[in-house]
């Protein structure tokens, strides 16, 4: 919450300017994301999938952490983006990564815009159920269209064309990680700009108390629809990235599992912070790798326990916990 003590009153613009300044920790963090290229080249594929998951998590953080929309069906947009990129490559022979990614985002965004009309009409449990229902609906629809989507078996795609006609997608994952990281960074910049703007502030207002927003003249429904659409675009791009870096797609990109996993990542890292999304993705994948390595069958136990512990003792996620430790305000 913002600090409203009389001694520290600042104008809203100053406050927002302060929030948008780059702290040295942030700069260090982004520099560190380049380390895998040099120090851990055998981990590049894992790194690229973490980056994609982080992008997906950021897209959900925009609506969940900032606007307060709890969703259990966001894989719908992730999957739509994934299949758009896949079908462009397979059926239309178009494998240029950047344009295909934009198209993936556009298709997911269009669907997101249409469904946003439904989303703004419900709250609380009904909202969760509507997102869940829409997600499951999309999965079943894609399954019925197996002739198009390859169904549960999935599709094998021709290799994606080199990025900028130069960087070839290779076995080691250099291009995959580089491309995913670049897209993640750009998306992060965009998201950061959004949340540190007056639009972002109004979203937080909606999250805190939606009933009061019309009283201060905020067009909250339109704002919600806008952020929901933006979130769908980003999720679609994450899905498209996954297709492009793996040259395969299967029905499970639309599954409830994916929707649940991304929400778990957010709660682990901390909602409403953008970096929480990235950290959550990192923690989730590492935890999964380690726990599954110990005993693949019981990794569920580990992640379930982790989830329960985090919710009980660190409800603001790990970043939130750290922030409270250091005495910083949200």
């Amino acid at each position: 919450m913002t600090n409203l003590s009389p001694a520290a009153t600042t104008s809203p613009h100053d406050w927002m300017k302060r929030q948008s300044r780059w702290s040295p920790v942030e700069i260090l963090f982004w520099l560190a994301t380049l380390l895998p290229f040099f120090l851990f080249p055998t981990y590049l594929t894992l790194a690229s999938q973490i980056a994609i998951a982080a992008l997906f998590a950021i897209s959900v953080d925009l609506i969940l952490g900032y606007a307060g929309i709890v969703t259990l069906g966001h894989a719908m947009f992730f999957g739509l983006g994934a299949y758009t990129a896949a079908l462009l490559s397979l059926r239309m022979g178009w494998g240029e990564p950047i344009t295909a990614l934009i198209m993936a985002g556009a298709v997911a965004g269009a669907v997101g815009f249409v469904t946003s009309f439904l989303i703004v009409r419900v709250q609380h449990l009904a909202l969760i159920m509507v997102t869940l229902g829409l997600g499951l609906l999309t999965y079943e629809l894609a399954n019925s269209l197996t002739w198009l989507t390859g169904g549960t078996d999935g599709l094998r795609l021709p290799r994606t064309w080199p990025v900028l006609n130069y960087f070839r997608f290779d076995l080691w994952g250099y291009t995959a990680y580089g491309f995913s990281l670049a897209v993640l960074f750009v998306a992060f910049l965009v998201s950061r700009r959004i949340v540190n703007s007056s639009f972002g502030l109004s979203l937080r207002g909606i999250r805190e108390n939606v009933k009061r927003m019309p009283a201060i003249g905020s067009e909250y429904r339109w704002h919600l629809q806008k952020i929901y659409t933006i979130s769908a675009v980003l999720a679609g791009m994450a899905g498209g990235l996954l297709t492009q870096t793996t040259s395969t797609v299967a029905l499970d990109v639309l599954s409830f599992q994916r929707s649940a996993d991304v929400v778990v990542m957010l709660i682990l890292g901390g909602t409403g912070r953008l970096y929480g999304a990235i950290l959550g993705a990192l923690i989730y994948f590492i935890a999964r790798d380690q726990l599954a390595g110990v005993n693949p069958q019981y990794w569920y136990f580990g992640i379930g326990l982790l989830l329960m512990v985090v919710v009980l003792f660190m409800p603001k996620g790990i970043l939130g916990g750290l922030a409270s430790l250091m005495g910083r305000k949200a």
Binding site: T42, Y43, G151, D153, T248, A292, Q297
Partner: protein
């Protein structure tokens, strides 16, 4: 671009040499399976088949030690499988990729197998296209068209004139529907109706009622293992759709041990097609089943187990043939045309398609010594997958 490839190759060579030095002692096999999640049971059964083979034949082949490295995909996730395969090759330096209970897993790992030139042994995934994804893929399980086209043909030849098909609404189900119809209509039969049931379907009454309405001579069923076989079996009989009035034809999952136990009397007379029959009266099979149940707390082997077991056999024999050479090309060449006697019966690897060629068994549930079992009533030897080369 050239510099990047050169750098990557240099790095690869360094790691490669390092692992080659090690590899003179061990052969590393990366096993990719859905150990956690909804398909964990299949993964466990397959792994048990692998473990049984190693326990029986020791963990040394051609002077080298066999080491397994397991990676979980969590379910039908192509991306997780690809990452697992890539990590196994690049980080753990495996020589062979194995496992693959589900088609997306195989599709995901295929590019890695192709680029890194590693033998990839598919031990369960059953869609025809799998072996076409990489020249290094060999399959030791079964394909759905292999079983069902022959089955459909046999059914028509037995005098069944019409059939209603009822399959689960997902890839394998669609394949089963298509291949059964192809074989059945090709031999003169008519399909009077076809429905698809949702995969996570708790209740079959509506579908069974539709079948009842059509009053066919026979009904063909495909459902995945687990809870569904018993549920649909009971539903059919409850509606009066049972032999001898209506023939029930299905792929073998319908009459697996737990389903038979749950269905009880209602299972009598169901005719199924499968590549592995638990009760098959054969010394090799009996030995296999005894060893398996002893090692697994009384749990009996199933199609997943035999896929894993025979997959390991293929690996061992290939290694013996190449004298320990683990390069993908050598191993694939050794695997092509290999034929052996397995607990399931005779099987071989087609040298052109690298897919499994085996006997298709037609079984009927009959009472033997007071217990209902799958009794083999017909055998169709050396059946190949009919779809290769047609897509």
């Amino acid at each position: 671009m050239v510099k990047k490839i050169a750098a990557a190759m240099a790095l690869g060579l360094c790691l490669g040499t390092a692992s080659v030095a090690y590899a003179q002692e061990t052969v590393k096999i990366g096993v990719i399976l859905p150990y956690s999640g909804p398909f964990a049971d299949a993964a466990n059964q397959l792994q048990a088949g692998i473990d049984l083979y190693i326990a029986k034949h020791g963990d040394e082949v051609a002077g080298k030690k066999i080491e397994l490295i397991k990676k979980d995909t969590g379910g039908p996730a192509a991306d997780a499988a690809q990452r697992a395969a890539q990590e196994l090759v690049v980080r753990d330096g495996v020589d062979i990729l194995a496992g693959f209970a589900l088609t997306p897993e195989a599709l995901g790992a295929a590019p890695v197998s192709e680029e890194a030139q590693k033998l990839m042994v598919v031990m369960n995934a059953a869609t025809s296209i799998v072996t076409e994804q990489s020249p290094y893929i060999v399959r030791t399980s079964v394909t759905i068209p292999q079983l069902n086209t022959a089955f459909g043909q046999w059914a028509a030849e037995q005098g069944v004139k019409q059939a209603y098909t009822l399959v689960a609404d997902y890839g394998p189900g669609h394949d089963a529907e298509k291949s059964f119809s192809a074989g059945f209509t090709g031999a003169g039969g008519t399909i009077v109706g076809s429905d698809r049931t949702p995969v996570a379907n708790p209740d079959f009454s509506a579908f069974v009622q539709r079948v009842r309405d059509a009053n066919p001579e026979a009904v063909y069923i495909f459902v995945p293992g687990g809870a569904q076989p018993a549920a649909i079996g009971k539903a059919l009989v409850d509606r009066g759709l049972a032999p001898p009035d209506v023939k029930i034809l299905a792929q073998g999952e319908l009459t697996h041990p737990e389903a038979l136990q749950s269905m009880g009397e209602t299972a009598r007379g169901i005719i199924t097609t499968f590549h592995y029959t638990l009760e098959r009266d054969d010394p090799l099979n009996k030995e296999y089943v005894e060893g398996y149940t002893a090692a697994n707390n009384g749990r009996e082997p199933d199609l997943f187990s035999i896929g894993g077991y025979d997959g390991m056999h293929l690996i061992y024999e290939a290694l013996k043939k190449t004298n320990g050479d683990t390069s993908g090309d050598a191993l694939v060449e050794a695997a092509k045309g290999m034929s052996w006697q397995s607990p399931r019966g005779p099987m071989s690897i087609d040298p052109e398609t690298r897919d499994v060629v085996q006997t298709v068994y037609i079984r009927e549930v009959q009472e033997v010594d007071g217990k209902l079992q799958n009794v083999i009533i017909h055998e169709i030897p050396e059946v190949k997958d009919p779809l290769h080369g047609t897509r």
